[in-house]
């Protein structure tokens, strides 16, 4: 290495260091350059469409099971029973938020927009179980099931009564066809509640069919 290169090296080192130090000095003395956000006192503005915790408005949820199917990591589970008006009634809806990766696929797929992202992002708990969000309290599930079953039974009784009334009407008229109609109506009334639990089972295999419903329907069958 020649003397010139040697000196050049030194000069270059000094110059580049000085350049760098000028930049750091500028940041050092300029208070406007501080970008720290003093969380939790200060918070950033959460944009619309932020994918935070999930929230299900169970009033509008139709228990269609789409979200359960689309979730890649199976963190949603729901249980539903067929109500008196043939619609599914939710009796539990849980999201394991500790497992959820906030991918938003479930929200995108929800046909009635009942499942939505909130802007929440803070949660701390000491037990893993606390991370499962129950949108319907676990205690309420049997109650809902019982209520739905009662409603279904009532509707069935009503339908049967109606059919019976019709049937009663028919013999007075004395035609054979009328008797046939009454028979069909009766059978339908008896059949309807029996078929339903099976359908519910197919749709949500993880949702066990509740005892009381089965028992009542069994009675009905007889």
């Amino acid at each position: 290495m020649g003397l010139k290169a040697y000196l050049n090296d030194i000069v270059e080192a000094v110059v580049t260091t000085a350049k760098g130090m000028r930049i750091t000095a500028r940041y050092g003395v300029d208070p406007k350059e501080e970008v720290t956000l003093q969380y939790p006192e200060e918070r950033w503005e959460i944009p619309k469409g932020y994918r935070g915790f999930l929230h299900n408005d169970i009033k509008t949820c139709t228990a269609c099971n789409m979200c359960v199917k689309v979730c890649p990591i199976d963190c949603i589970s729901l249980e539903s029973v067929r109500g008196a008006d043939k619609k599914m009634v939710l009796c539990s809806y849980d999201i394991n938020i500790g497992r959820c990766m906030y991918c938003g696929l479930c929200v995108e797929v929800c046909p009635v927009n009942s499942l939505l992202h909130t802007s929440g992002y803070e949660m701390a708990s000491v037990a893993l179980g606390e991370l499962i969000l129950h949108f319907i309290a676990a205690e309420d599930a049997p109650e809902i099931k019982a209520r739905v079953a009662r409603q279904v039974a009532e509707a069935a009784v009503k339908a049967a009564a109606q059919a019976a009334a019709k049937a009663a009407e028919v013999p007075s008229s004395g035609t054979a066809e009328a008797a046939k109609v009454a028979e069909a109506a009766k059978a339908e009334a008896a059949k309807a509640p029996v078929v339903e639990p099976k359908a519910a089972m197919e749709e949500a295999p993880q949702a066990p069919v509740s005892e009381p419903t089965v028992a009542k329907e069994g009675e009905k069958k007889e």
Partner: protein
Amino acid sequence: MTIRTDALPTQEMTINMGPQHPSTHGVLRVILTTDGEVVTRAVPDMGYLHRGLEKIGERVTYAQYMPFTDRLDYLAAMNCNCAWAWTVEKLAKIEVPARAEYLRVIVCELNRISSHLIAFGSYTADMGAFTPFLYAIRERERVNDLFEMLCGNRLTYNYARVGGVSGDAPPGFLEKTKEFLDYFEPKLDEYNNLISYNKIFVHRLANVAVIPAEEAVAYGLTGPNLRGSGVPFDLRKDEPYSVYPKFDFKVCVGTGERGTLGDCFDRYMVRINEMRESVKIVRQAVAQIPDGPVRAKVPRLFKPPVGEAYFRSECPRGETGIYLISDGTVNPLRLKIRTGSFVTMNIFEKVTRGLMIADVVAVIGSFDIILPEIDR
């Protein structure tokens, strides 16, 4: 550079560098055999982050796999998202609306910037200068803000969809993007003044771990690591996909300006220059973006035809190729992912021989590896 060790033989020592080490960029374990400070052998031991992403792909549907691509390279999730979407679209021959393609290019290039920022920042931190790292993080935060506005998340975006993107840009997004570009471009000069041409930094990088062009090609390096060796190969130019042919940008290659062609400094500089090119692409895309729908009609129970497809795209860490076989059901039959970082690790043992321990850190940083891509 190599240091003569034959003059004063000493006993060799085996050191485990990682899997918990500040500079291995994750859970990489390097088994170093050193003679004092000189590394005689450095064997990377991978697999600490293996999650079976390819196997998972065979279990979930095409749409459900999208969030998993976020985890393929979490610093460039947008690129991986889009790579998956492009592959499935190629397989099923789905036409994507133009606006969606433009949005994809915008987010891919923004993500390239943010990924290269991390590469730049963590590299300088590895070299002992902590300040540029925080500057880089500061700029990256702005990109994250943009993405948060666009798709609601800051790291695992899950933005692309088969047939388009998950949602149109919210009002103000494109303006905000332009604002960011205006803010960001001068910062690159600042980085160069602050650290890139700093004498110590140059000395740490120049002539270290030189990879000649033929060797880089032979070992299958891609992305900035290949271009650092002076090979002007960029899939965006050489095998154009999406709307890339519509943009005017340059392929950055190493020039050997401070040392030998293909050394750590070249690889580093390629990334810095690529950020500038990405800014240029985003500017053009924002100016040209057409109106229209952002999502093609894809049936909910999407079943691609029987067949296979291989699609490769230019991700920040090299070429990400996805090979997909479909048997006509909702799940892929087989999925194979080729990632840049994994392939780069092949040459690691070769180039680190005879370097110092500090150089091993420099080499890992200059490859800009990311562990989820290596282990998948």
